[in-house]
Symmetry: C2
Subunit: 532 residues, 2 copies
């Protein structure tokens, strides 16, 4: 008797046969919610919800969720922070050292790999990570850790264009997933710790030509320039290292910005340091600033405001309102009017020793006894913030906003430091404060009040984000490498799986051949789960 491997699982379709001929249009990106089988942008939709409309996996069957395939890549794993995209059955994601993979979303089998030749020495603060790619038409876009934006052929992985945004030797670097808006690829720079002047760039998807640059620090003659002392604006940081969101109706993109440099030493950059630690609303066609809101003026605690701005259309005080919700690294949850940046609400999330609250204008009431000095101060939230790059979610089913919180305190020490090209510009030092409470938690908030509906305590602080589902689930990840499914309404734990690897990414979901999958990147692997 002669038996053979069933062709069903080694079928060697070429990628060209699988990729749909019409490609991914800007219209499809705008209406991503209508094709939940795909995951077309970093947060799944322009609104930043990180929510899937798929409901094959539900609270009543999630206990039967089982790994269907695993993809592993070789190399020394640093942090695998990417969210994969899925476009019509093909999955695209970057892994360590800006390698990009295209794999079969049904089986995990690899179609192609793009390897970038990176400089041996790069002044990058936090590893050569990449949080994702973007897609448009038959192209995949990657923002590289050596400060370039590149376009790849989605069928082959071949390089189509390569645009240099800035010199990596001076700290210009990208770690975020680009955001495609209309015909442009929008990216924000990393490297605030190297004293660059932050920016958000847009590149023409077809040619790679830069369409515009928005400097997050206004130059001479521009409004806001006066919020920087002397020449401090030239090296004031304010990077923009996480992917923003987009509202097609108002045609505005919303992007969070990072902290001013030097991080802990603010004495030579007196002023509010606009637009550091802000959300900026930009016109995607030209990068023009429509409005801004600054969460932490003149920050001296590394409170980047880069977290995903989540766009909600809800009734506020009895009237429909276009809202922007964000849980900030500085320890507060904020609700803004996204048409004009009007401050509506702030709510304290965790112990905050740097501020005693937020005033009626949305400005923090600084605790002047606790500003870092040369002896150091115990500051809560600590260096890593109340939350960070791990994505929040919003579920239209539960109408809850989900966020992963880190309760920890650090000692921040402030020391004078001046800019040197390619050298880190912390302006002091930090360490975890001994003896202070430290824990992680997933919290469900009412976005209209910031009140906690439930909290799921984690064994340790976590770097994994959230995914909410129309099946009534919230997927979260723990520091110990567990992927966990909670009841999105109650926070009850319904299922978990030990991945064996550190989780620094947020889960996503897609469907192929009528089957819903949940995917989690962990260490050197990507695991796809479905109901068995």
């Amino acid at each position: 008797m002669l038996r053979c491997l069933s062709t069903s699982f080694i079928l060697l379709l070429t990628l060209a046969e699988l990729v749909s001929s019409d490609g991914l249009s800007p219209e499809r990106l705008r209406e991503a919610r209508r094709e939940p089988q795909n995951w077309l942008t970093y947060s799944g939709q322009y609104s930043g919800w990180r929510h899937t409309e798929l409901k094959q996996i539900r609270t009543d069957n999630v206990r039967r969720l089982a790994a269907q395939w695993i993809f592993q890549f070789k190399g020394i794993a640093h942090k695998f922070e990417a969210t994969p995209l899925v476009v019509d059955g093909i999955m695209y994601f970057p892994a360590l050292d800006n390698r990009v993979f295209a794999i079969d979303a049904r089986t995990g089998r690899q179609f192609w790999e793009y390897r970038r030749s990176l400089p041996e020495k790069m002044p990058v603060c936090c590893g050569t990570v990449s949080r994702g790619v973007a897609a448009l038409g038959d192209r995949i876009f990657l923002a590289t850790v050596d400060g370039h934006v590149v376009a790849l052929d989605s069928k082959t992985g071949n390089l189509l264009w390569d645009a240099e945004a800035g010199d990596v030797k001076d700290g210009h670097s990208f770690t975020l997933a680009p955001l495609v808006v209309n015909d442009k690829v929008v990216v924000g720079v990393s490297g605030g710790e190297f004293g660059l002047r932050g920016y958000i760039d847009a590149y023409q998807a077809d040619t790679g030509k830069r369409a515009w640059r928005f400097y997050t620090i206004p130059g001479p003659g521009e409004a806001g320039h006066e919020t920087w002392e002397g020449d401090s604006w030239k090296h004031g940081g304010a990077p923009a290292w996480l992917t923003g969101t987009y509202d097609p109706d108002s045609n505005l993109i919303y992007w969070g910005t990072g902290n001013p440099a030097p991080d802990f030493y603010g004495d030579e950059r007196e002023g509010d340091n606009l637009y550091s630690n802000s959300v900026v609303a930009l016109e995607p066609d030209n990068g023009k600033l429509k409005w801004h809101f600054q969460f932490t003026p003149h920050d001296v605690n590394d409170y980047d405001a880069t977290q995903i701005p989540v766009l909600l259309d809800l009734d506020w005080k009895g009237k429909p309102r276009k809202l922007l919700a964000t849980a900030n690294r500085n320890g507060f949850f904020y609700l803004l009017d996204r048409t004009n940046g009007e401050f509506l609400l702030a709510k304290q999330l965790l112990n905050t020793t740097w501020a005693n609250g937020i005033d009626r204008n949305g400005r923090p009431i600084i605790n002047t006894d606790n500003i870092p000095d040369e002896k150091g101060k115990v500051v809560c939230p600590g260096l890593y913030g109340a939350t960070n790059w791990m994505s929040p979610s919003y579920s239209p089913v539960t109408r809850l906003f989900y966020v992963v919180l880190r309760q920890e305190c650090f000692i921040h020490v402030s020391k004078p430091q001046h800019y040197e090209p390619g050298k880190s510009l912390w302006g002091g030092s930090n360490q975890e404060a001994p003896g202070m409470p430290r824990y992680g938690a997933v919290r469900a908030l009412d976005p209209l009040t910031g009140e906690s509906k439930w909290e799921f305590k984690l064994h340790s602080t976590s770097w994994g984000g959230t995914l909410s589902t129309a099946g009534g689930l919230l997927f979260v990840a723990s520091e110990e490498g567990y992927l966990i499914a909670l009841d999105a309404l109650t926070g009850e734990e319904l299922w978990h799986f030990r991945t064996g690897g550190g989780i620094y990414a947020s889960p996503m979901s897609f469907a192929v051949d009528g089957r819903q999958y949940i995917v989690i990147p962990c260490q050197n692997a990507l695991i796809a789960f479905a109901i068995t």
Copy 2:
């Protein structure tokens, strides 16, 4: 509402609480078949069957087999060739660079890791792999790639003793899992390609003192010495780099030996080159040779005979007989009487161009037209052999012998070369022969005839071994990283899972808390499956 992680999956039992107080006795090792929840030696049992008596996972439910946990280790994966042991719920295994892990077999959570400081430069031919550890009492034994044998405390991973077998600078190295027999730890050296004189060593498990050494090449005055020309015996190779088997009744260990050096150049080592490419039967108390059988005399094609010798008690020509079955790298299956080495049967497995058959005495009928010369000859099986380190299985349920075969042909070139310490001694070169048939297959043989009962063709040649089960299954692995469950009786494919990593190991099985698991090592991960 406040929810917490269920304690069931983060329960921090100490390893000392889990390890049974009486430890693992030599009696338990001899009767391993009586405790199928454990996997106590490299092949699961002394007989080399790689068969589990567990039958919770069966032909009728294997489609519900799902990953339960994953363990990942960090580092650049070379080849993860180990079979883990499970002793009373604790799993022990080595990974790259001789790191040894103890993990909770229920959850994959790590208890301890042993890291060995290895020399930066080592003359090892095939990567710093380790195929497993051995256990006795409260100790774990590792044979290291730098030529030592070490004992670790099973509760802590602390080093208890460290015995040097030979200088790694001269090519002395270990890659096999040791075999504990009574109070001794038996190991065979790797490194035939570096022109050492092969040996099998036994170390006292309690002290690490070497109890005996059996040189696989007889010295002056010893029987067999005359099978080596001149001084060629001094650097004649014949390593012993895979774990042998043991018959407690006859109190003999059976160990396969590797090819003579130089591999392809035999002109200066005229003679049969005993005991290269043989199985040797040794008394475990003193290492005394009871008998030997040589499969490939005067080998010039790298046909190591290190494959696992499988011990069977079956009727032969109407009478019960103590048998030894082995599928050999040289392309033939052999059946011997294991009490005296008597040749009973040989059967050609694949295309063999080096020999036209095996004569009635078990000696190959050499194809003298196809002996490698300086121009090179196309030789089948090629360099990697008809089979290799991937383990075979024997199922007492089906009474079939399962082996993973590689059909491929190489060009072997023979060139004069003389020994230099620490330099490889191939005596020529090799490359895959273009245009020749190449495929992999799993074959089920009747061990009493060598006849094929069924064959399951693989897409490519595979390095993964087999595991047969009392549930009627045969687990195998493909080059593409699939773990596959076949019906052991028919070869029908019943289930598969894409691990995403290269598989260079053989599956094993264990049970804990009444649940049967199947484990496969792949690239940087170890995956445990059970019925969901």
